[in-house]
Amino acid sequence: MGVRDHLREIYFDNSATTAVCRAACDKAYEVMYENYGNAASLHSKGMRAENEIITAKKTIADMLSADKNQIYFTSGGTEANNLAVFGACNSRKKLGNRIVTTQIEHSSVLEPIKQLESQGFEVIYIKPDSNGHISEKDILEAVNDNTVFVSIMLVNNEVGTVLPVLSASKAIKQKKAPALLHCDAVQAFGKMNVKPSKLGVDLLTISSHKIHGPKGVGALYIKKGVHITPLIYGGEQQSKIRPGTENVPAIAAFCEACKEINLTGSNERVSVLNERLRNHLKEIEGVVINSPDDASPYIVNFSVLGIRSETMLHFLAMNGIFVSSGSACAKGKPSYVLTAMGLEKVTADSAIRVSFCKNNTVEEVDIFAEALKKGIATLARAK
């Protein structure tokens, strides 16, 4: 078994991925080594594997205040988002032609929607304000009775803004739109209360590796009675909505990671870290905080004016501190989220995202602040 070197590493990139918790590692190993059956097999080995899946569905459903039959496992958040977008729009295309979303969704929502746009759907991309907030009024204006799909994330992955998902559900009712409402809750699940029924959503995406579970597994919540078409075909599994032999070790490990979630405890801890970091940042000259004050405490996005994101990122990495420049999926390009928020190029080019988890400590935040100051003092700047 490997050992993690917490003494030499400070991992502040938890919105990219998290360290897998020991319980999840152990479970994955157990299922791979002992309980390796195919959940579709009729014999007892298969049944035991199936039971792992049922337990996982139930655990996750309980957290969402949902029913276990509403949980569909996928290969991750990207697949769940693709399934939601294509599945909903393909099943509803006869009822209307408009899709409503925001400019700051994750690329796994935006890219599938762009595909549908090129096939003839009309898409409204709502612009955020300079804090990354999406206004309820803009949502209400964007949704009409021709709208078949609305997708709004709960927490933005780059700046941590909380989006008004509930008002989208109100808008759909008010406009009598034949629309399904999807919410990408990947950055919210395990970090705040996520109840699809209270948010009024039909589809909701979550992912395992953002909450100390393994990569390669996520889930889509589908409200009872809502029909969407599958992305792939070829088996009877998961009501044919997502066929294919289930990734039982990853699903069971995802379940273990869910069991370790303690919302109140984590949030209290992380809020302390967040406040401490913000206080440090406010004292450093030339640093601007891009995340709004009411953002998720797990994410702090800021810019060190004059020093490119990548340079500061590599400098911090050389000091054993891991952060992200904007978002991990957008190497080298200025962030479209920060650009949509209207940030100037110099600010967007120097953005750093710190994202916490419950395992981070106040000492780490202090060490980070010192390293940041050292970088600001020593790194060469564009003349």
Partner: protein
Amino acid sequence: MKEVILIKLGEIVLKGLNRRTFEDILIKNIKQRIKPLGKFEISIAQSTVCVEPLSDDIDIDEVSDRIGHVFGIVAYSRALAVEKDMNTIISSAVKYLEETMSTTSTFKVESKRSDKKFPLTSPQISAEVGGALLTRYSHLTVDVHNPETVVTVEIRDKYAYIRSGVIKGAGGIPTGTSGKAAILISGGIDSPVAAYMMAKRGLVLEGIHFASPPYTSERAEQKVAELMEIVSKYAGRMIMITVPFTKLQEKLHKDCPEELFTIIMRRLMMKISQRISEKDDCSALITGESLGQVASQTLQAMVCTDEAADMPVFRPLIGMDKADIIEISRKIGTFETSIQPYEDCCTVFTPKHPRTRPVLKYVLEAERAAGFDELIEEALNNLKVTKIGF
């Protein structure tokens, strides 16, 4: 009955007395390249190298592909080696050429007989094999002047060889017949092409890469190693030296005029590369510069950079357009890797208005005033070596 590869030697036939050395090096290069694929017997006779697999499980497509990357080979062909018996030759030819013949409409058969003890003459062999092919593939007609396909039957010492068509080789002269040179390699499009072109002229290469973390990423360095791996399919094994360049860059940024950043940086790279070359027995430096492509590649800039090195600097791309360079980079397979976005994005060190006509005198003054000698020694004491193509 097995498939072999016959290689016609290229320019090396022109090399007179050196011919044996050249042939030996070429055969060594071929052996090194195909060794991981299995056991082979490699023989040479009458300007033709025969590569014969010694077991049935060898992937001859892969062998053929690798031989296509070896410099010093103008053309080669895949051939069927069979017992020197006329009935066997005929029946094997009919079967072996099935795919070729079904997509061809005119053909002729040429025969060569170096084993004069073989009972039939060359014209007789051609007539018999041609006749059998006509009978089996009735859509064919013979065209002796302008055939679509030429079938060749060669009767040599050990076997009779049947083949159709030739495959273009990588050309050039065998790597290792011209000495050794160091290529200054970035992650861009040009330097891998320059490396390929000079290896084609027989040079063994050593890569020198300048890394400036945290201004450049570890992935950029990894990308350079990947590019050299691709080049090594042609150029053979080599080592890559990574020079820690950060402190020099920072000093340059702090103590030199901004408009001279690039030119002095190039000079520092030349100086360090020369020192490495002297130690590693390289007789020349190679760069991917093309005249006028960017500010540091004007004639005046090159005058200033060349002054920093005493050894010859080869610039095989000097007269080429970017489009032509890209074409070669696509052909050799480095393009896709070159355009991945980890290129040294250290815009901090790129002047907004670089001097395109630097005057050597002022460049030297600025360089002397800053004083880089100590940092150069420090960099040379901290080189990292990566093996490429092993």
